[in-house]
Amino acid sequence: MTTVVSPGKGAGSGELAEATSSNSSLRRFLHGLPGVDQVGAEARAAMLGTRSIKTTAKEFAIDLAIRMVDLTTLEGQDTPGKVRALSAKAMRPDPADPSCPQVAAVCVYPDMVAVAKETLGTSGVHVASVATAFPSGRAAMDIKLADTRDAVEAGADEIDMVIDRGAFLSGRYLEVYDEIVAVREACARPDGTAAHLKVIFETGELQTYDNVRRASWLAMMAGADFIKTSTGKVQPAATMPVTLVMLEAVRDFREATGQMVGVKPAGGIRTSKDAIKYLVMVNEVAGPDWLDPDWFRFGASTLLNDLLMQRTKMKTGRYSGPDYFTLD
């Protein structure tokens, strides 16, 4: 994953820059995006869900999915022990099989970043930290920024911020935009690099696909590296149609600006079958360029073990059981 803040990122110039010049122009821009018909979007997602991925394609997809997992623990009961265990698993998901790839990142609360970082070392598995008063985002701006800086200082490679849904739903788009820009600046490190910024919409609270599309563009214009569906604390979390709309947004954003933005569905993806459906959707909607952990992630915890079980089934030809995989 690139760790250099690209200066041309987001709404750097032209039409998009103009759109962010005031709340009303931003509102006009976002409401000028094509609408999303719920039924049509859901039908398209359902159709993609009927793809049948077998044999070699399935092997490919399962390994890719493992590599895309942001192995997550975001609980009040998290302890250094728990985070260490999870980090160990992230690096060697299947102790019995060294050919098993490692996951993309471990995702924790800011206070656990240091622990995770210490365990993961130079393994290449990133540390992602939620920030900005996750999950509700209900805190003062300076607290959110301090939260972010803390996590970055503690060694977070990636920051998963939440947007202010209240501001978004009441139409204060510029406020949301400015906040993302500010958090992005707080992601900068003294050496000139920056932690990657994932922007969480909590789509379950935005309710409509029109809002998801608008939030996607808003975040991309503000310089998000990734757009992410959910905190995992609100139902519904990630769904196929929500992710579809976001994939359409990153596809369109690249066509408009040349910049690629990643997508991360998080919460509710528990089975290999589901993960493969998402990958099919990535492949056919955003395109194969997004079939890479740099551009697509799964925010998940239990998903990993199911992927491992399926992977073992593919390799051994017999069904495995939960006793053969670690519970961390």
Partner: protein
Amino acid sequence: MTEKNVSTGSTAEETGTRAVDPRAAFEYAPAPESRAVVDIRSSYGLFINGEFTDPAGGRSFKTVSPASEEVLAEVAEASAEDVDRAVKAARRAYTKVWSTMPGRERAKYLFRIARIIQERSRELAVLESLDNGKPIRESRDVDVPLVASWFFYYAGWADKLEYAGLTTAESGPPQPVGVAAQVIPWNFPLMMLAWKIAPALAAGNTVVLKPAETTPLTALLFAEICQQADLPEGVVNIVTGAGETGRALVTHDDVDKVAFTGSTDVGRQIAKAVAGSDKRVTLELGGKAANIVFDDAPVDQAVEGIVNGIFFNQGHVCCAGSRLLVQESVAEEVLHSLKRRMSTLRVGDPLDKNTDIGAINSREQLEKIRELSDVGDEEGASRWSPACELPATGFWFPPTIFTGVTQAHRIAREEIFGPVLSVLTFRTPAEAVEKANNTPFGLSAGVWTDKGSRILWMADQLRAGVVWANTFNRFDPASPFGGYKESGYGREGGRHGLEAYVR
């Protein structure tokens, strides 16, 4: 269709160890549905009076899989004599059993048939895809479920006819018409069978049905389902054959009702053939539907609707959205998205669960599509298809669009009945309506806009029997379907669909 892994300037750097080449394309391995579920006999007789019988003339024809040109079975060709036998069987069953049976008993037979269709759905889907060439995804997810639902829906009407609002001043509560002659096309073999047989039987008629000569197999499997359901003999008779058989059937003196789905030309011939008789007729014929996309459309769903509108079932759909009318201000954007989407369509083995576009149903139809497409070239329209590898055997045509088409082009006026879309533009809603209605057909139309009042205005103005707003190619047994003008008359589906089968 080959998945082109177009590298478009990803700047991602690789970090960490990667067990798999990250740039390997996500190639879907073949995922063929098993043929083993279906048992195709080497030869089939005619289903008359509850049993399979040999044709009087002893003639037969072959039905092939359009995807491979493999011969699937020999099928009996019914002569006029056989047709007469079938009509007599239907008449006997009508008089002695079916018309006098209480509606609630008829209903139970239809419910039983619906259930058997559900039970044997996989078998029906596979056989349909084999004989017709349509993707298994469609036969499995669209055709066969609709077939079952059609029987389920009309089963419920059988004992409620007096509530259907069809009581007339002259003849009181609805009565069955008698023996129905039903001739169906090859594009939705089983679904068209259901659309014809379910309402006919519910209303107390008996039927003689002729499936299309290129797709007789699922109708013959349906005959077996009738046997499994213990349907009284002669209530459903299935005579296989080509045009001559159909002619003998619709002109038979003892037929009371003719129902036909197919080309406008044949529909015209049938309408002429029954002129001056007492036969009732319903015709569901061709179309050249406009799919109208406004500048405020939900564009991603509109593109899906355009794709579904013209590439569903290889475009072998009478109500296909074969004329795209796109507002000039967004034409470029919509076409760009459409082409991108078309590049992900997967053409190939109909039995592969990932196939989006299957085989063209017959060599004859393929020739017709080629011929009209060539006319499109000659008339100066620009043809575009995505990069697409077509199988070496069988009948195939790539998904194709023509841009720069005007109303004067033949490809904008004639039904191509294949995966070929003609793209036209318009500037104002009035112009869209004018162009959409400027055709002798009037089966269906599509409208894509986020503005509610405009949808209702368009729906009111369009001269078409079905208007899909922000959707396309949706079907339901409760929803009347049928055309204006040369797209035919009568409705199938819903309460309206009963009207053709009662007097």
